[in-house]
Amino acid sequence: MIEDTFWDEIWNITTLSLRVSGTAVLIGALIGVPIGTILGFRQFKGKRTLTRFVDIMLKSVINTFMGLPPVVVGLVVYLLFTTSGPFGWLGLLYTPTAMMITQLVMVVPIIIGVTMSAVGSVEKSIRERALSLGATETQAAWLVLREARMGVLTSIIVAFGAAVSEVGGIMITGGNVRWWTRTLTTAIVVETELGNFTMALTLGAILLSMAFGINLALTIVQLKGARR
């Protein structure tokens, strides 16, 4: 009986982790990939000083946001969704949705940044080659995106890796409620504090194998995408 709840809880925690981080990354990709693509194309067009200045600022801002401390994101999302906050009326605080929003804020800059540099690195030569072979601007742009596909996939995998192992942000906005908002990382924190090392270690092993899976996928993508 005890055994049953043990594995039930682990199953509950693991699926919640995957659901929250997976949804955040999915929505993040829908937002981040198009923006990253547009910004990647911009990099080579800016010849005037002003455009170049805007590009440099934009890139620096994105890079800063790529390294955003999750706790800070958690704090901001908490303040927005707390009962007295501007979105308090939605009643989302301490729900999986709030956790998902927190991780979304975290992963969007990662996806934009990595997509941007992937597109930027193939943009000029591939675009020119396509044009010289008779492509229209639109056809050339599609080809650039196709050539950068491994980089785009990398951005999504990296973002998922960051999201699933994040703890500070979702701890604040999810509240770590048992059977409700407890994920792999937040559960490890609480189980360790309680001295339930069997539980903590099992969850740790699951998280570690996920990290391994993500890195394995990344390595395969990089090997496949390697240009001469």
Binding site: S125, I126, E128, R129, A130, L131, S132, L133, G134, A135, T136, E137, Q139, L143, R146, E147, M150, G225, R227, R228
Partner: protein, 357 residues
Amino acid sequence: MPTVEVQNLSKEYSGRYVLKDVNFSVKNGEIFVLVGPNGAGKTTLLRIIDLLEEPTSGRVLFDGQIVDYSSKKDMVALRRKIGMVFQQAILFNMSVFDNVAYPLKVRGESECNIKQKVKAVLKLVQLNGFERKNALALSGGEAQRVAIAQALVTEPNLLLLDEPTANLDPKNASIVEEIISHVNRERQTTIIMTTHNMFQAENLAHRLAFLNDGKIESVGTFQDVFGKPLKPVKSFARLENVFNGVSKITAEGTSIIDLGNGLKIEAAFKKAGNVRLHVPPEDIILSTQPLISSARNTFEGRITEISDMEHVLKLKVKIAENKNFTVQITKRSFNEMQLNIGSKVYIAFKASSVQTS
């Protein structure tokens, strides 16, 4: 469409002129070669003709029609009649078949046509059987031939080639040269190509232009341009180890060429009378001591010029009055040998390295 006219063309990049008032025209069915040293503006000129760049001033005409850079539609339509091959092949991360099919796909050709045309052009560049390979896994020579196939598959009226053999080994280079003359002969394709290989220029060009420092120094047949050379033409020719001399056949069946100033070169070919010969800079061995070797030609000289060519160094070695050899060595051996301008050196090369046209 094929007649190409370039009128008063200049191109400036942030205040520096890379092309200055360039004028020439290329006739239908002609192979027109742009020769000149690195940095002369050859690539920029080809890129402007391919409509990848706009000239700062002057204009380009195709069949008497001035190019309208404001109309994207016109530009695409014009580019679709031109095939271009860059010096460095840029291939897409897909199969060889898909790479070659790309120009047909963007033109909306049917699957059936695409299959047929790709097959035919891959045979032309001697890459049949490579269809399924990933293009990024090819060797340099194969990659360049795929790039040529991409340009030829649409049967363009005008073919632009930027140093098509510069990075290729002799075998691949001769395949590419064969393709160039085949296409020109069989399809009457007008070709504009750049090269700094004098022999290629002489072999392929119907007419050529010598481009130096962004300006055209002379235009005409090979003899017109190099027979009575202007000063920069002569120095360029010397840069490539090209010499004129009188050849005599020896008893052993080789030739001794007298270059004047007491300079005699032994060559493996059998030819008498006036010859123009060439020694590839990479075939010359440089040493600080006289070498005892199988090389039939050994000379003592002094380094008069050192130029950095990215991966290697080109040294000018003065052997006698007006006789300089260009020698190519790696930076590492240059440092190890502690060479400098004025250093006394010995150069050696085999009789079989001496080429003639």
